[in-house]
């Protein structure tokens, strides 16, 4: 079978299998309660954002971006949906009005189902108006952006949580919500948008922190275990980078050769 693997994909294939094994081992130990998660201030502040919306009697926005399930940004969308589940649960329990505009038609039914379940669990399904609170605006970037900007200007929300994949619209959202005085928690793994969020939002989740959101918020030992495996891979990546840099400087290309096989 190995001969079927094209050049340059053997090492990634072996690495994937090893990662699979290490992740399973980490999950096994996670279930035994061996690991804990460090504090992520941005995620802690979501509850404060919902509380602010309740106190001010204004809505809270949760924007998950315009990524779909069929693109490379799907993991970010899934992370955004996890946070939407948490925000909607808090909103249902505390009585804040949630607004979560949608842009991806394949993600929208899932988002609706998540929010509906949160309200059902809180016994407040009758308070949820799916069409008004999770409106489909547009699948086109700037039509969607202008729709949200307009909603923010009219409704003047108390808070805004944006976690997911974002493109050029990120700065428009962050600045508009800041201008109407909304408390903002923003996070994305799209590197070019991170500086915009860091510049304007009150709290920022940087890169992989958004993937830790679900584990952090649910305290699920399985997910916390898998988070530990992420740290293991990062440690390996750092070691490979340092050793590879030293060896390459000395003219030994062994790590480069192995990684490119």
């Amino acid at each position: 079978m190995v001969w079927l693997i094209p050049e340059g994909r053997l090492t990634p294939f072996i690495t994937l299998i090893l990662m699979w094994i290490i992740t399973l081992i980490s999950i096994y130990y996670g279930k035994k309660g061996k690991f804990s998660v460090r504090r992520i201030p941005g995620l802690d502040k979501i509850e404060e954002a919902v509380g602010r919306a309740v106190e001010m009697g204004k809505p809270i926005f949760d924007i998950i971006g315009m990524g779909s399930f069929t693109s490379v940004y799907a993991p970010q969308t899934v992370a955004g949906l996890s946070v939407l589940g948490y925000v909607s649960k808090l909103c249902a329990e505390k009585g804040a009005k949630l607004i979560a505009p949608q842009a991806a038609v394949d993600v929208m039914p899932v988002a609706v189902e998540i929010v509906r379940q949160s309200y059902a669990e809180a016994g407040k399904l009758d308070e949820l108006d799916v069409d008004e609170q999770l409106p489909y605006l547009s699948g086109t970037q700037f039509a969607w952006a202008s729709g949200i900007i307009g909603m923010a200007a009219r409704l003047k929300p108390a808070a805004n949580v944006m976690i997911g994949p974002f493109w050029a619209e990120s700065m428009m959202f962050a600045e508009t919500f800041a201008r109407v005085g909304a408390y903002q928690v923003a996070g994305t793994a799209r590197l070019y948008q991170l500086p915009f969020f860091a510049a304007v939002a009150d709290y920022v989740l940087i890169g992989e922190e958004i993937f830790a959101a679900d584990a952090y918020l649910t305290k699920d030992p399985v997910k916390i275990g898998s988070l530990f495996s992420q740290d293991v891979y990062k440690l390996i990546a750092i070691l490979l980078s340092v050793i590879g840099a030293i060896l390459s400087t000395a003219g030994v290309k062994v790590i480069v050769d192995v990684l490119s096989k």
Partner: protein
């Protein structure tokens, strides 16, 4: 069972086909992956109808109940344009002159206008950040100033060193930081993918 186990099984099988197609690109795996992608396109087309129905419900209701007459006008205007665009696209095809006119004369200028407004948002954001209040923000201000100098033709005409400084900032400082974040993002995505394939991540199913 049909709400949880069957979707998880479909996810596992679909994911494994995608993984196998990448690492073992034979005719069988390629064909299987192509079929899956086509199914995805068909399902997405159905979901598009869901979005259109939602637009009609929301803006139809707003047209009937909005106290502000301006809201009513905009609501009905949106629905009229939605119907016209859909009718022209379906009946004459998206390559027709009429559809292209709608696209080039209405959609494109509106999109370009929104995109152009981005510079004002960025300027406002930069104004908030680039203030020398702390050591960090002072360093950021100095770095941003050097990058701006390196990007403008006038400063390069005065002294070419500005351009070299800008390149050094991008190639060394920015690249180093970005690669660190990128590696973390890649690892996070892979672990999320493994959890999804193993049925431990169910956020995409619409239930936690």
């Amino acid at each position: 069972m049909y709400k949880r186990e069957i979707p998880l099984l479909i996810t596992f099988l679909s994911g494994m086909v995608a993984v196998l197609e990448y690492y073992f690109p034979t005719d069988a795996t390629k064909n299987a992956f192509t079929v899956l992608k086509n199914w995805g396109i068909v399902i997405a087309a159905f979901a598009l109808g869901f979005g259109a129905v939602n637009l009609f419900i929301v803006y139809g209701r707003r047209f009937r109940k909005a106290p502000n007459p301006v809201d009513r006008v905009f609501s009905i205007w949106l629905l009229v344009l939605l119907v016209i665009t859909a009718l022209v696209g379906v009946s004459l095809s998206s390559a027709s002159d009429q559809y292209q006119w709608i696209y080039n004369s209405i959609y494109l200028p509106l999109g370009a206008t929104m995109y152009a407004s981005l510079c004002f948002y960025m300027t406002a954001g930069a104004y908030k950040v680039l203030r020398a209040k702390t050591l960090d923000s002072t360093l950021l201000l100095i770095t941003a100033f050097l990058v701006i100098l390196g990007n403008t033709p006038l400063s390069a005409a005065i002294w070419k060193g500005f351009f070299s400084w800008r390149m050094w900032i991008f190639d060394v400082i920015v690249s180093g930081a970005y690669r660190g974040i990128r590696i973390g993002v890649g690892i996070g995505s892979i672990v999320l993918g493994i959890r999804t394939l193993l049925g431990m991540e169910t956020g995409y199913l619409g239930r936690r």
